[in-house]
Every structure is written in C-alpha cells, then in structure tokens.
C-alpha cells in the first residue's frame, strides 16, 4: 500500500464497530470514500472497445512511445468513480449558494440541450464559412443583445473568461492611447476594493496600478479621484455595482472627469446581473466592460470554468477591438480575420485566442436570454436586488453590516466580523454554515471590509429558501457571538474536516507518484 494512502479511503481505525463509531470501509452510509484512479485502475484495463489492433508500417519517424503510466477503468467502474466523487461537492443544484460576486444562479437545462445540438457541438472551428452560417448567426444575435442591453457600440466576443475580457478591454485602451500618440499614459487607477484580477490584468498589459481612495460609505471618492487625474493617467478600472454591493452613484461624473482628462473608463462587469435591463452602462460613460456570461447569463460554472467574457466597447474603443469578429454580409455572415482586417479594421490590436471564443457558452447564453426576453431580464435584476436587500435587513441586527446606512444594496449584501468575540472570525461562520448544509458566502473579500462576508443569493431563490438560509445564518452568527467553541472546529459533518493548507503549500504534492517511487523519495 502506498505511503500517501494510509489515510483517506482506507479505514482509519482497524476496530470497526458501534463502540468506536468507525466502519470497516471508512464510509458513512451515503457518504462514500473514493480512492484515486491510480489506486484502483490499471494500465491494461479499458472502458473503450476498439477491436483488433491495426497492422502496418509505422510512419512515426522512429519515435514510438513505450510506457506512459496511465490507469484505465471499465465503464461501470468509471461511472461509479465519478458519481461518488460528485457527491462530495456542494452545488447550486443542491441548495442556495450565496457566494458574493460569483453569482451562483440556477443553470437552466435547456441551455445544455441546445449547446449539444450537433450543428453547434459537432462543428469544426475552421469549417468553411459557408458551412457555419448558423454559428455566425448565433454570435451575431448574442452580440446584438449584449450591445443593446448595455447601450454600447460594439462587442468583442472572443475573450475566454472574465479576466481575459479585462485584458481585452485594457489592451483596447492601450491601443487607443498609442494611436493618439499618448502611449506615455501608464497609470490605471483601480479601487482597493477591486477584484485581484483588475490589478493583475493592468500589470500584465504593462500598466502601473494606483489605488483610488474610497469614501466611508463604500464608494469611490470622486473628489480624490478628480485630484489625481492628469496627463499620466490612462484611465480607471471600476466595478459597478461595486464589490461592496453598492451602486456607484457618481459613475457618470467619474466617467466625465476621466474623459475630460484624456483617459478611458473600464468597468468590471462582474456584477452586471444586478442592473441588466434597468441600467445601461453605456449611459454612464463606460468605454469597455466585460460580461461574465456565467454570472449574468447563467452558463454553468462547472467547478471553475470554462467561462466566457465578451467585452462591450464604446465608439472610441471600437476601432481597436480584437480579431476575429463576425460581420453581416448581404444575407449571410462573414468572418473578419487577419486576412481581411486591413480593409476596414486596421486599428485592431490583434488576436487574443485561437478560433472564435467560447461558442459553447454563446449558445447557452443566447438560449437563456431568449427565454427571459427583455422583460424577464429586467425582472432578474429586480429579484436579485430584492433578495439581497431582504437578507441584509434580516441580518443587520446580528451581524455588523458596515454599509447598511449607505442606501439599499444591489445584488449582494456585505457583513464584517466586527463584534465577534476574540478568536472568532469570518472563516468560523463560513465553516459552520457548511454544517447547516450551505456553501459559505465569499470570505475576506473585498479587502476594504474587515473579515468581509459577501452574500449574494441571486434571483433564482424562493422566499422559503431565503428564510431558511437566514434562519441558519442567524443561528450560526449567534453561536459565534456567544463564543460557542464548536463553531471554531466546524465543519463537523462534511466529507472532510478543515484541511491543512499550509502543509499543502510547504510540501507540494501535485501529482500521483507510484508507491515505490514515493517511498524511494523519502
């Protein structure tokens, strides 16, 4: 048996039985432990039938491969392995998932069915343009919706995820500045409350990042921002609604001031779901904004991607949009790529990705948008904001809500660990919520709030679901306030207790090593 397998799925106590509370298998009824494929599979097992191995002369240039070390499982073993693993995950399909800023809403299954239609799923990206007109029409229809809902001038569809969309927007700003001969504007102003991707993106595009100060009510300090504007400023990156869950009241004034000083306004559109159909970012003077299709338009998060991050652009930035893009051409569509860009899109900053972007996400998002329509999307924003305010006002007497007096929140409510007894913090409340059957809220983000707890219920929760969550949240908050020590050691009932992240980082084990190799290394 492998040295790194002495804990885990094997029984941790040899004496199984009622007295010890242990079982022979380590399982707990429906809570099933599952080994790694490397522990149960073998290199001569397969779940796929191919028939006879072909014969014939190899043309592999003498580079034939010998052993690889990949385990295989039969189909029933494979299905069981992944089904068992799946049951160790929390998911929206299981319950409310109040992860602030991440927008865990219901994923309609029609989206999945449509994305799997052979005309979309079984279509090669380099198929001749005439044979993919329906795909280009999907891209064009989705683009039309995104442009219209945001009141912007154009949209770059190819970015692969939100952070990739940020990069697209920032590169467009850089390209625009250089085209104006003002490439020496090197500073992007970013609020300290911004998501970490904002400064990382700015740095990747060779900008220098400076903080924008905030007011006590959790918004950008307009006067301080104005005072910093000047000929070295490329622009600002602002999240609106912001990461404290507040609408930036001064957004238009900010945009006007930045434009007057020769800069551009990037808006992180992560929270567009709060305002879709009620406010158009284009009316607030935004020059570029990415839209996370998984947040606002319900494509599945999938355990951490794939995402999709189209970027809507103002008229000023449109000439610099990346390749490729789809254009109406008489009755059909054509693809503008490197070959034809010179004709009428010579300012493009270039290609960001192979092929056309996340087509599989476009079909899902368009399906969702058509299902809701203009009226339903507006209701989405309203219900998400209503649900968040309901939680805010139902919790503010038991948890510190730093911006409770700053006006209504938008789609998420923020709390802090202020007032918890010594030794208790946000993480304890989060882990105790796990025992109550919930995924925790976002912890310690944004950085401007001490021990931040960012709660986003989304519009796809019923009032009954919200009431039950509020009951659990209040109960956990009360236990923490009273110094209940069992909160400190939560979760007690999850598939695993708190995990040692320090050990994982100090001695990284990032891949399976065969037992003899692992032992030899020790």
């Amino acid at each position: 048996m492998s040295t790194i397998n002495q804990s885990g799925w094997r029984p941790t106590t040899p004496e199984a039985g009622e007295a010890s509370g242990a079982t022979f298998t380590g399982n707990r009824a429906l809570m099933l432990e599952e080994p790694l494929i490397f522990e149960i599979g073998s290199s001569d097992t397969t779940g796929v039938d191919f028939g006879e191995m072909p014969e014939g002369k190899s043309r592999l240039g003498g580079l034939e491969r010998k052993s690889i070390g990949l385990p295989g499982l039969s189909e029933p073993e494979t299905v069981r392995h992944y089904t068992r693993l799946s049951r160790q995950n929390y998911a929206i399909d299981l319950g409310l998932f109040p992860l602030g800023s991440c927008t865990m809403k219901h994923n309609p299954r029609l989206n999945e069915r449509v994305a799997r239609l052979p005309g979309f799923a079984d279509l090669h990206p380099l198929t001749p343009v005439d044979s993919a007109q329906g795909a280009f029409e999907v891209i064009d229809q989705l683009a039309h919706w995104l442009i219209t809902l945001t009141g912007m001038h154009s949209v770059a569809m190819s970015p692969k995820a939100g952070a990739h969309g940020e990069l697209c927007g920032v590169l467009a700003i850089r390209a625009a500045l250089e085209a104006r001969g003002e490439g020496d504007r090197k500073i992007l102003l970013v609020p300290i409350s911004a998501h970490g991707t904002n400064p990382a993106t700015a740095a990747f595009a060779n900008f220098t990042v400076e903080d924008i100060p905030a007011t006590d009510d959790g918004r950008v300090d307009l006067e301080a921002l104005k005072a910093r504007l000047g000929p070295d400023i490329a622009g600002v990156m602002i999240t609106n609604p912001n990461t404290c869950g507040l609408f930036e009241r001064d957004m238009k004034a900010i945009s006007d001031a930045v434009h007057a000083a020769g800069g551009y306004v990037y808006c992180d559109g992560a929270n567009f779901n709060a305002i879709v159909g009620r406010v158009r970012p284009g009316d607030l003077g935004i020059d570029a904004m990415h839209i996370n299709l998984h947040k606002t338009f319900s494509t599945p998060h999938g355990g951490g991607g794939p995402g999709s991050g189209p970027v809507v652009l103002s008229e000023a930035l449109t000439p610099y949009a990346p390749l490729p893009f789809v254009e109406k051409d008489g009755a059909g569509y054509r693809l503008v790529e490197e070959e034809t860009a010179g004709e009428h899109h010579a300012g493009t900053f270039g290609r960001m990705v192979a092929f056309h972007g996340q087509m599989g996400m476009f079909t899902r998002a368009l399906t969702y948008i058509l299902s809701h329509g203009a009226d339903g999307l507006r209701q989405v924003a309203e219900d998400s904001v209503l649900n968040a305010n309901y939680i805010l006002r139902s919790m503010e007497d038991v948890l510190d809500a730093p911006f409770a007096k700053s006006g209504p929140c938008m789609h998420e409510a923020i709390f802090s660990d202020e007032g918890l007894p010594e030794g208790f913090s946000t993480i304890d409340i989060a882990k105790a919520l796990i025992d109550e059957g919930y995924h925790p809220m976002t912890m310690y983000f944004p950085l401007v709030v001490h021990g931040a707890m960012l709660v986003e219920p989304t519009e796809t929760e019923s009032k009954a679901a919200l009431d039950q969550f509020i009951g659990a949240f209040r109960s956990v908050a009360a236990r923490a306030r009273n110094g209940d020590p069992s909160v400190k050691t939560a979760p007690h009932f999850a598939p695993r207790r708190r995990l040692d992240e320090t050990l994982a980082a100090r001695k990284p084990v990032l891949a399976w090593k065969d037992p003899d190799v692992a032992q030899a290394a020790e």
Binding site: T45, T46, R59, L60, G61, L63, I68, G72, L73, V79, Y82, L85, S86, Q88, A91, L110, G119, H124, L126, T127, P128, S131, G134, A135, T148, A163, L167, G196, T197, A203, L246, F247, V279, R280, L284, H301, G302, G303, G304, G305, S308, F349, R351, F355, G373, A374, R378, L386, I434, H439, T460, T489, R496, R497, R498, L503, A504, P508, A511, W512
Partner: protein, 452 residues
C-alpha cells in the same frame, strides 16, 4: 417566468420587511438620467422553452455538422468519438453547477478530479507536474512564453514555423504590449520540421524555443537535439501539443527534454464546439513549478488526518498577489478538464495506445490513397493522424467547393496563411477513428474530379 421563484405576493412581503414601497426604491442610487423605465424597446419578450428550442434548433441546422459530412478537418481541433458516459457524468449537477473549490471540505469531488487530471496530464506530456488547466492551447502557449521569460530573465522567444498560426498570432498580439521579442517564421512546405534552423538561431538572449509536436503540417521530429541546444544556451524548450492523442503513439516532449509542455486538450473528451470551450494543458518540470501560472491542486490532510485535496501555491495567483501575480487568469476550464480526465480514465494506457494506433493506421492508408490521385502529392513522410498534401492547384477554392458537396476536405493552408505563396496549394488532412474508408474514398474521388 419559469426561472424566477418569487411570486408577486412574496415580492410585496419582502419589500415590507426591507421597508421599501416599491422595487424602484432599491435602485434609488442610479442617477435619474440612466434609469430605464421599462423593458428595453426593440428586444423580444420572454419565450417558452419550446419556442426557444425551436429557434435555436433552426440556427443549428444552418450549419454543416462534422457528422453529416465526409470530414477531414484538424489543425488544432480534432473529431474523436467521445464515450456516452463522459457527457452523462459531466452533467451531474454536483460537477456542472459547483463553483471553484475554495471551500475544500465540500468540494473534494472537484479537487480530487483536478489532482487526477494533473497527474494524467503530467504523465501524458512526460513532465513532473501539470496545472489544473488553462483556457485553451493558444493562451497556454503564450503563458508558457511569459513563464520562460520569468525563469530565464530574457525577453526573446523563437517560434517554430510549425507552430499553429493562431497561436503565433495570439503571442504576437500579447508581445506588442509586454515588450517581449518574438522571432517568427512561416512554415516551409517540405518533408521535415524546422528543427535545425531553430537550433542555429538560439543565442544568449533567447528565453525559449517554441515548437509544435506534431507540427501544423502534421510532421513529427525528435526534440532531443533541440532541447540540448536550448539548454546549452540556458534557454528553455517549450513544446506545444495540439493533438494529445498522438502521445499514445509517439514519445512525449517531456521525455525528450522539453522544460514546459503545453497543449490543447480538446481532442480528448471535449468535442469540436466550433472552437470553444476547450481545455489548455500546461505541464513543466518540478523545479519550475513556482513560476507556473494557473490553478494547482495539491494533496494534504484534514484535521482528523484523512487525505484530502486543496487549491495550493495560490501565492502565485491574482487574488493574493494582485499586480504581482504570475498571470491575471482567474478561472480555468475545469468542466472540460473533467471531461478530459473521464475520457482518459475510460481509455487508460491500453485504450489510448489502441486509439492512437487506429488513428495512425487510418491516416497512413488515407495518405496513400489520396497520394494516388493525379495532381496530389504527399508532402509529409512521417506523421501521426494528420498529413499535408500539395495539390496541383490552389487548395482553398477546392475546399470551399467540396464543402458545398458535403465533403469537409481538410484545412487549406491558404486559409491559415493567406497570401503566402507556395503554401496556397497545401491541404492539411486529418484522419481519426471516426473517419470511415468510404469517407476517404469519397474524398479521393472528389479530389480526382476537382483536380482533373
């Protein structure tokens, strides 16, 4: 509306609890000039599931699906048979509708899968470690170039002419902004990869050499000498694999000395999907791991000593390091990585080798048959499942015309390299286990007619 559970009565009750009289009160911070007083004009209103499905199905039918044609396209995206259980399993709600596993106690399913994926990828590519996936092959390739710059503290990357032109194009776009110097070239329509030319170019400013294996024309070359030459100048070898099934038949780049191996994982488990979402593979040697971008899952123990998995080494990442992060990437492509991992588990080593052998045998037979057509010449003597033909006339219009007859003949080099002289007659043809002998015969007779 079927996706919104609140009733009008709920909404009234909740407004009461909040202390608001109408929903508009909750949007009071929106400046008046930006307030929309009703649904945006000119956009359709909500629709039934049936109506939406009908609309989307009509759009899908306007495309010529690969399965409805004699199909030979490759060049970075490959059509393989994906077992039914793969799609069934990735649609389990616990995988499909989970978030990034930031709360490991209730995300062991995703985390263990990531650990298994990383281990499978590392072994397939012949490296020590792999990350939990990138957006796709093209972005992984650029991230590898940036990583090589961080490791070597040099700013010039040499890109092989055999590297996928979209990957080159992505790198060129990014380099314009970052100041990296890229030494690029077009492929030459000949029998061999440009290994010797690349070796001659490596100097003391070179951060890395980037080479695709098999390359864009399908050619396979031993990377060992290139790795030695790069290492002699303290540069890195970055290898790019766009058809990972090949590594069931040919040696892995990591085994031949590549320091970073990246790839497009699409051909295993993911499907064509018109270009995305795909899954970027990223692997390297153990000593470089702290310079690696992207998510990483590592093994640890919980408070009771049970084995478990967590996201680790996050001090490289943007949410901790902000502007000092190794990359701005936040998400990866986990659901596609899951599909990849399930498919790889079903195959196992034995199945992968069989699959690779069938692909190679099919491609070999097809190459011989097509090379027998007057006006067709096989350019690439060694290849895996994709080879290049030189036609007696420009390939692009031929491909276009054949598509109208329901034959997707391959990727013309004129599409990938518009205006590049002798490449215009090149046609890259991919053959996988999904290609039938009838498909090949159909293509051969169509080419015979088109080139007559």
């Amino acid at each position: 509306m079927r996706y919104l559970p609140l009733t009008p009565a709920d909404r009234q009750d909740m407004l009461g609890v909040i202390g608001a009289t109408s929903i508009d009160d909750l949007f009071a911070d929106v400046p008046e000039a930006a307030v929309l007083d009703g649904p945006i004009h000119g956009l359709p209103l909500h629709a039934s599931e049936l109506a939406v499905e009908r609309h989307m199905t009509a759009l899908a039918k306007k495309n010529l699906a690969a399965g409805d044609a004699a199909f030979f396209l490759g060049c970075g995206a490959y059509r393989h048979h994906v077992p039914a259980s793969v799609d069934h399993l990735i649609q389990r709600g616990e995988f499909l509708t989970a978030y990034t596993p930031y709360q490991p106690e209730i995300a062991q399913g995703t985390l263990q899968m990531m650990f298994e994926f990383q281990s499978q990828v590392a072994r397939l590519l012949g490296c020590d470690v792999a990350n939990a996936s990138m957006y796709d092959g093209s972005t992984a390739c650029w991230e590898a170039i940036v990583m090589a710059r961080r490791v070597t503290r040099r700013g010039k990357a040499i890109l092989s002419g055999g590297l996928h032109p979209h990957y080159v194009s992505v790198a060129r776009t990014m380099a314009k902004f970052t100041g990296d110097v890229l030494d690029t070239r077009l492929p030459v329509l000949g029998a061999n990869p440009d290994t010797d030319d690349l070796i001659a170019l490596i100097d003391d400013d070179t951060s890395c050499v980037v080479v695709q294996y098999p390359d864009i024309l399908g050619r396979i070359g031993d990377l060992s000498k290139l790795a030695e030459a790069a290492h002699a100048k303290k540069a890195l070898l970055v290898a790019v694999v766009t058809e990972p099934v090949a590594l069931g038949a040919i040696r892995a780049p990591g085994e031949m000395g590549a320091d970073i191996v990246v790839g497009e994982g699409q051909s295993i488990g993911v499907g064509l999907q018109f270009g995305g979402p795909y899954v970027g593979l990223f692997a390297c040697s153990e000593k470089l791991v702290r310079q690696m971008p992207g998510r990483l899952c590592g093994e640890t123990v919980d408070a009771e000593g049970k084995r478990g998995f967590v996201l680790t080494l996050s001090t490289r990442e943007q949410h901790i390091r902000r502007e000092k992060a190794t990359s701005n990437i936040c998400t990866s492509s986990v659901l596609c990585a899951l599909a990849w991992s399930i498919h790889m588990t079903l195959l196992g080593e034995m199945g992968l080798k069989q699959l690779a052998a069938i692909n190679h045998a099919g491609a070999s037979a097809a190459a011989d048959m097509l090379a027998g057509v007057p006006g067709v010449e096989l350019v690439t003597p060694s290849f895996f499942n994709e080879f290049t033909l030189r036609l007696s006339k420009e390939a692009r219009p031929v491909v276009r015309d054949l598509a109208h007859k329901g034959i997707l003949a391959g990727v013309s080099l004129g599409r990938l390299y518009p205006g590049a002289g002798e490449l215009a007659n090149g046609l890259v043809v991919a053959v996988t286990e999904t290609t039938t002998e009838e498909d090949v015969a159909t293509l051969a007779s169509a080419l015979r007619e088109a080139l007559a």
